[in-house]
């Protein structure tokens, strides 16, 4: 039986990075996610798997170390919290433009600005709509448990390399700081340089063998026609991802008349709300988008005939609700309930808000 440990979400990220065969972690301390690098430094993976762990001088530098490492065809990752991710957005845009795989972890804290170190979900727009410049998307995974923090490191790398796209685990201070049971999965060996050259040598900067021209990794293309072609290719890739990679979880949805939509820590709280609502005889269900890009739009649309109303529940001022409304397109009423700045709702509070909005 696999070993079961009690770990914080942040610690799980670090343990998973080593066990999923990451080649490099580059990061900068920021609360509430510093345990990621601290755990890595304590584990000293460079002695075991050969993984590189480096504390950079800034988030700007971390993301550009990722850019360099990703160019090499290596599995590289970083973690940060909201203000740090803002600094990284330049680099994320470059990596999206240059079609580079990497894993980003955002353990969101309340903002704007320096904000608070308490959990929030105010970075939904930044993650899902593209925080940096230009038309790009990244794959966004929203874990709701410590086990998922662990598992999504593996999934994140897999998707990042499958589509050559930056992939983000969008978590928050609650999931990052919370401890739960983690089942360690079988370790995945790091690829050797030889294997990387064989697998990714057609695009990665692994050193140019005599039989091919030098690989150039760049997001620059000054001619408008070329740049448009690159953009069209990127958009096509995003459509493919939307077709293939939607992930979600439904709770008590079969007979639901009303639906809560929530991701990450909010979805955990809303699970509690559904439990209480069911005790009271309210036919309430919960849809938890696991991928925020691609968004489970078709899943919401399929459910519309059975629904009288939907409420999006978020630790922000109402960001994901825009995607819910786009999916619903006016077919049923869509309401929103949220708290901000590090305040968290309880299951009862959500139920009360739901009952008020729908006059139940």
């Amino acid at each position: 039986m696999a070993e079961k440990l009690l770990k914080k979400g942040n610690e799980a990220i670090a343990l998973a990075a080593i066990r999923y065969g990451a080649d490099g972690y580059f990061g900068y301390p920021i609360t509430p996610q510093s345990e990621v690098m601290e755990t890595l430094m304590e584990e000293m993976p460079w002695e075991t798997t050969g993984m590189v762990v480096l504390q950079a001088e800034s988030e700007t530098s971390s993301i550009n170390m990722l850019y360099g490492g990703a160019c090499c065809g290596k599995k590289v990752m970083t973690s940060s919290s909201s203000p740090g991710i803002s600094l990284m957005c330049e680099g994320i845009s470059y990596m999206a433009g240059a079609e580079l795989p990497c894993l980003l972890v955002n353990v969101i804290r309340g903002g704007p600005g320096l904000g608070t170190i308490q959990p929030a979900q105010g970075d939904y727009f930044q993650a899902v709509k593209g925080g940096g410049h230009g038309d790009y998307r990244i794959i966004v995974l929203a874990p709701a448990s410590v086990q998922e923090m662990y598992d999504f490191v593996g999934l994140g790398f897999e998707l990042a390399f499958k589509y050559r796209i930056p992939t983000m685990i969008l978590s928050d201070g609650a999931i990052g700081q919370m401890m739960e049971k983690v089942e360690l999965r079988d370790s995945v060996r790091r690829l050797t340089d030889q294997e990387i050259a064989e697998k990714y040598g057609h695009w990665a900067t692994v050193g140019k063998p005599a039989n091919r021209k030098g690989n150039i990794i760049s997001s620059l293309s000054l001619a408008a026609s070329e740049m448009e072609a690159i953009n069209l290719r990127l958009q096509e890739k995003y459509r493919t991802i939307e077709k293939n990679e939607i992930r979600y979880e439904k709770t008590m949805c079969e007979d639901a008349e009303y639906l809560l939509v929530a991701f990450g820590s909010s979805s955990r709280i809303c699970e509690g709300t559904v439990e209480i609502a069911r005790e009271k005889g309210i036919r309430l269900g919960l849809l938890r988008p696991i991928t925020l890009f691609p968004y489970p739009t078709p899943v919401i649309q399929e459910m519309l005939p059975q629904l009288k109303g939907i409420m999006s529940v978020e630790l922000n001022s109402g960001q994901m609700v825009e995607d819910v409304r786009l999916a619903v397109n006016g077919a049923v009423p869509v309401e929103f309930y949220g708290r901000m700045g590090g305040s968290i709702f309880s299951p009862e509070e959500v139920l009360k808000a739901f009952a008020e909005k729908f006059n139940l």
Binding site: K4, L5, L6, P32, T116, I117, Q118, G173, A174, Q177, M178, M179, E180, K181, S265, R268, I269, C270, E271, G272, T273, V274, E275, I344, F345, S346, P347, E348, E349
Partner: protein, 181 residues
């Protein structure tokens, strides 16, 4: 079985580690667990609290409006958490430094004079284990061997020589817990 518990006191009293030992013991007994700290500036000398949920089934919300049990180790925590205990629930507290004692009649109230005991027995570093012992006496939801496993898993190996002392403290807590009437 589902136990929703809040442990609250001053930072440095071992509130978070007590919660961790409890949660780890739950894993050793094949339960689902969550351990959710109230973190931040409060960790540095102010009040600290942690929510621990131990359950047979998948745990939904780690955030609680009501709890089954509150373990209270200072006055601020008493004021904050006495009101949110479910009817018929449990309040366990250390009377040291408590000037306003609990008043509710619809919950069970117990005390453990862990601060006094720990000082008298020169076991001040195991204060929180005495409280844990008192709790486990009142709510025997976890087997002793799993609690010892949880303790072992929670402590860094360099502190493993302290396990017998902690075990003793748990027993002391069990013996000295008193109902408050």
């Amino acid at each position: 079985m589902k136990e929703e518990l809040i442990i609250a006191g001053f930072g440095g009293q071992g509130v978070l580690s007590m919660g961790k030992i409890l949660a780890y013991s739950g894993i050793m007994q094949n339960k689902e667990v969550t351990w959710m700290p109230s973190y931040g500036p409060e960790m540095r000398g102010g009040t600290a609290n942690v929510t621990v949920i131990i359950s047979d089934k998948r745990i939904s919300s780690p955030i609680l409006q009501w709890c089954d049990t509150a373990i209270v180790l200072n006055q601020q925590s008493m004021d904050k958490f006495e009101p949110i205990i479910r009817k018929g629930g449990l309040l366990l507290y250390d009377p040291n430094g408590i000037s306003r004692h609990p008043t509710r009649k619809d919950i069970k109230i117990y005390s453990i004079a862990a601060t006094d005991l720990a000082n008298r027995m020169e076991m001040s570093r195991t204060f929180n284990m005495m409280v844990l012992g008192a709790y486990l006496k009142l709510k025997p939801i976890l087997d002793k061997e799993n609690v010892l496993q949880g303790l072992k898993k929670s402590l860094p190996e360099r502190h493993h020589h302290l396990i017998p002392l902690n075990e003793k403290a748990i027993e002391v807590g069990k013996e000295h817990v008193k109902e408050v009437v």
